[in-house]
C-alpha cells in the first residue's frame, strides 16, 4: 500500500478523504419543514404576484394561440409572411427554440441523476415541467405548418385508403417520431417522479375533492420499501433511457437542416452544436423561471445560491460549446474552399440583410455569459437574470439566423427575398410565450414544484450510513497524521 493514502480498517483499498459537501438544504431544516413548505404552496392562497402574472399570460395564451390558430386555420397558412424562397420562417424558428428549451429539463433530471449530482433534486421537478410545456408549445408550429392541419394524421404510419406510406427516409418524419417520443418519455419521467409527492398532497388534503384527485393520481402509493425498490429501478431506467433520447432529439432536429444540400446547413457540426445550444438555452430558461419562483414562494433554503451558481457555470460551459461552434462554422466555410458555403457565411455575417441578427446572437450567446467567470456575477441575482434573458433572446436569434438568413439568400439570386413575419405569426409566437408561462404557473399552484421525497433523501440525517462514515473519519484522524500517513501505535 502506497504511503500517504488513508486506508480503512476494512479492506486494504485506498480511500479518498470524504470532503464535507456544501449543504443542499440550508438552516438544518427538518423533514416536516420541507413537506410543509413545498406542499404548502399548493394548499395556501397564491400570492398577489402569481395572479398578476397568471391573468395576463392566460389572456395572451387564449388570444395568441386560440384566436391566432383559429384565424390561421380558417384563412390558410398564406397569412404567414413566408414566400417561395423563405418557406421556413418564424414557425420553424419557434419550433426549434421551444424544443431546445426542453432539453435542460431532461438534462437535469436524467444526466445529472446518472452522474449523481444531488443538487439537481430541488430544481428537477420544475425543469421537467418546463420541458413538457416547452414541447407542447413547440408541437404547435410544425403541426400547423403542414397547412391543412386536419391532415396532420398523415404523419402517422396508419394504413389509409391511398395505400401510400410515409417516407421513413425523411428527416421530417424522424422528427415526428423523435419529438413525440420525447414528449411521451418526459411525461412518464415527470409523472413517475411525482407519485410519492402526490401521495404527500393526498395525505395532507383537507377537502374530499382534493383527497380524491390527488389520491387518484398517487395511485395508492404507500412508500413501503417493497415499492421503493422497484420505483428506484424505474427511475434509474427512465434516466438511462432519457439520456440518449435527449441527445437524439436535437440531433434529429438538426438533421432537418444538415441532411439538406443548402449551403450553411449541410454541415456535420450541426448535431453537437444544436444539442449544446439546447442545453445552454434550456438552463437559461430554468433560471428565468426559478429565480422569481424561489423568491415568490420563499424557497431560498431549498434552491440555494449554490444551485444558481452551478447552473450559471453550466451556462458558461455550454456557452463555450456554442461559441466554438459559431467560430468553427466560420472557419470551415473558409477552409472548406466551397464558394457557396463561404458566400453563405459572408452574407450571414458581413454583408447581408440580416447580419444585425447575427451580431445580436453572438453578443447574447457568447459575450454576455462571460461575466459568469466572476463569482460576484453568479451571486448577484439581477446579473444572473439579465444574462439568462440575454441567452433566451440569443438562442431564439440563433435559430432565426440559421433558418432565415440562409433561405433568404439561396442558390439563385433571382429568388432572393426579404422575409419579415406577418402579424399572425407574431401573435402566435407571443401566444405560446403566454401559454408556456400560464401552464408553468398552474403547475406551481396545483403540483409540488420541488421533489419533496428526493430533497429529503439528500439530507445528511437521511443517510443511515452517515454515522459510520463519521466514525471512520474520526478513526482515520486518530490513526493518521496530518499528511494521511499511518501512525504506528507504540
Amino acid at each position: 500500500m502506497a504511503q500517504g493514502t488513508a486506508t480503512t480498517s476494512a479492506g486494504n483499498q485506498p480511500r479518498l478523504d470524504v470532503l464535507e459537501r456544501e449543504d443542499l438544504v440550508l438552516n438544518n431544516r427538518s423533514l416536516a419543514w420541507i413537506t410543509n413548505r413545498v406542499a404548502g404552496i399548493c394548499e395556501n392562497k397564491m400570492p398577489l404576484l402569481w395572479w398578476l402574472l397568471f391573468i395576463p399570460s392566460a389572456i395572451v395564451a387564449v388570444v395568441g394561440v386560440g384566436v391566432g390558430l383559429t384565424y390561421l386555420v380558417s384563412t390558410g397558412v398564406g397569412t404567414w409572411g413566408m414566400n417561395n424562397a423563405v418557406f421556413w420562417g418564424w414557425d420553424i424558428t419557434n419550433f426549434v427554440f421551444w424544443i431546445g428549451i426542453g432539453h435542460a429539463g431532461t438534462l437535469i433530471s436524467a444526466i445529472l441523476f446518472l452522474t449523481r449530482q444531488n443538487w439537481r433534486t430541488s430544481v428537477n421537478r420544475a425543469a421537467e415541467a418546463m420541458t413538457i410545456f416547452a414541447v407542447t408549445c413547440a408541437g404547435i408550429f410544425p403541426a400547423f405548418h403542414v397547412g391543412r392541419v386536419w391532415m396532420a394524421w398523415f404523419l402517422a404510419p396508419i394504413p389509409n385508403a391511398n395505400a401510400v406510406w410515409q417516407n421513413f427516409k425523411s428527416p421530417l418524419l424522424w422528427d415526428v417520431f423523435a419529438v413525440s417520443t420525447y414528449f411521451t418519455i418526459s411525461l412518464i419521467f415527470w409523472y413517475v417522479g411525482m407519485i410519492p409527492d402526490l401521495a404527500t398532497l393526498r395525505d395532507r388534503a383537507k377537502t374530499k375533492v382534493r383527497k380524491m384527485l390527488y389520491g387518484l393520481f398517487a395511485l395508492g402509493w404507500r412508500g413501503g420499501n417493497r415499492q421503493w425498490r422497484h420505483y428506484e429501478m424505474a427511475y434509474l431506467l427512465l434516466a438511462a433511457l432519457s439520456t440518449p433520447l435527449v441527445l437524439s432529439v436535437h440531433t434529429i432536429v438538426s438533421f432537418d437542416f444538415a441532411t439538406s444540400v443548402v449551403p450553411g446547413w449541410h454541415t456535420t457540426i450541426f448535431p453537437p452544436y444544436f444539442v449544446a445550444g439546447a442545453i445552454f438555452g434550456g438552463f437559461a430558461m430554468v433560471l428565468t423561471l426559478m429565480i422569481p419562483a424561489r423568491k415568490m414562494f420563499g424557497l431560498e433554503d431549498l434552491i440555494t445560491m449554490k444551485h444558481i451558481d452551478n447552473m450559471a457555470k453550466i451556462i458558461l460551459l455550454t456557452g463555450f460549446f456554442v461559441g466554438y461552434a459559431y467560430c468553427m462554422e466560420f472557419f470551415i466555410a473558409w477552409y472548406g474552399a466551397n464558394p457557396y458555403e463561404s458566400a453563405a457565411f459572408y452574407i450571414r455575417i458581413i454583408d447581408g440583410p440580416y447580419n444585425w441578427a447575427y451580431y445580436a446572437m453572438f453578443f447574447c450567446n457568447v459575450i454576455a455569459p462571460q461575466v459568469f467567470w466572476m463569482k460576484w456575477a453568479r451571486q448577484n441575482l439581477w446579473v444572473v437574470m439579465a444574462v439568462a434573458m440575454c441567452v433566451n433572446i440569443g438562442m431564439w436569434f440563433e435559430r432565426f439566423v440559421i433558418i432565415v438568413t440562409t433561405l433568404a439568400r439561396m442558390w439563385l439570386p433571382g429568388d432572393w427575398r426579404y422575409y419579415s413575419p406577418s402579424s399572425v405569426e407574431i401573435l402566435l409566437f407571443v401566444g405560446t410565450l403566454g401559454l408556456f408561462l400560464a401552464l408553468f404557473l398552474l403547475f406551481m399552484k396545483f403540483l409540488p414544484c420541488i421533489n419533496i421525497a428526493e430533497v429529503k433523501w439528500t439530507l445528511k440525517s437521511s443517510n443511515v450510513h452517515h454515522d459510520e462514515i463519521e466514525d471512520e473519519k474520526r478513526e482515520a484522524a486518530l490513526s493518521h497524521d496530518a499528511d494521511g500517513r499511518l501512525l504506528h501505535k507504540s
Binding site: W174, F177, T184, T200, R202, L219, A234, E454, V464
Partner: protein, 183 residues
C-alpha cells in the same frame, strides 16, 4: 356496512431513518416474511437490510425495448421496401438504405422501453389501487411526511398477537397499533 373487521397486522413507528434501518434488519433476522418498511424517501441499503434482491424491472424493460426495435425494423422495411417503395430525390429503397432507418429504430426502442418501465412498475408495485388497509391508520398519513413505519402482516405465519407486538416494542417501535380493515 357490516361491523366485522379483519386484522391486517401491526404497525409500529420509528423515530428516524436509521432506527428504521436497524429495526428492519432485526425483523428480517427474526424470520418474518410478510412485512414492509415504510419511509418518506428511499433508504440506502434498505433492500439488503430487508433481504430483497434486485428489482426484476430491467428484464421487462429489455423486452419492451426489443419489441420497439423489432417493430421499427419491420414497419420501415415492410412499408418502404416491400409494400410501396417511395422513391424521393432519386434515393433508392432497399436493404442498403438501412442507415436512414436508424433514427426511428432508436426512437421506437426508447418509446416502448419507456412505456414498459411505466406499466412494468405498476405491475411490480401492485398499483394502482384505490384503497389499502394501512390507510385506516391515522398516524400512517405521516409516512409521506416524516414518519418511518414497519408493518407486519397478520398473513405472516410467524404472526402472533402478543409476540409480534412485544417484538416490535423490543426493536424500538413506538405508537404500536393493530390495523384492522372493514369488510
Amino acid at each position: 356496512m357490516s361491523n366485522i373487521r379483519k386484522v391486517y397486522g401491526y404497525l409500529a413507528r420509528f423515530e428516524s431513518a436509521k432506527d428504521l434501518y436497524q429495526a428492519a434488519k432485526k425483523v428480517r433476522e427474526k424470520g418474518y416474511s410478510r412485512w414492509d418498511a415504510y419511509s418518506p424517501f428511499p433508504i440506502h441499503g434498505m433492500d439488503a437490510a430487508m433481504g430483497l434482491g434486485r428489482s426484476r424491472l430491467p428484464h421487462l424493460v429489455f423486452f419492451g425495448g426489443a419489441t420497439g426495435f423489432t417493430l421499427a425494423v419491420f414497419m420501415q422495411f415492410f412499408t418502404q421496401v416491400i409494400l410501396y417503395p417511395t422513391v424521393v430525390h432519386g434515393k433508392p429503397t432497399n436493404l442498403f438504405t438501412l442507415p436512414a432507418y436508424f433514427p426511428i429504430m432508436f426512437e421506437l426502442t426508447v418509446l416502448l422501453a419507456g412505456l414498459t418501465t411505466l406499466f412494468g412498475l405498476m405491475v411490480l408495485m401492485q398499483l394502482p389501487r384505490l384503497n389499502h388497509p394501512l390507510f385506516e391508520s391515522q398516524q400512517f398519513t405521516r409516512v409521506t411526511d416524516d414518519g418511518f413505519f414497519i408493518a407486519i402482516e397478520a398473513r405472516d405465519s410467524r404472526f402472533a398477537r402478543e409476540r409480534t407486538r412485544d417484538f416490535l416494542e423490543q426493536i424500538g417501535g413506538v405508537d404500536i397499533e393493530l390495523v384492522e380493515e372493514k369488510i
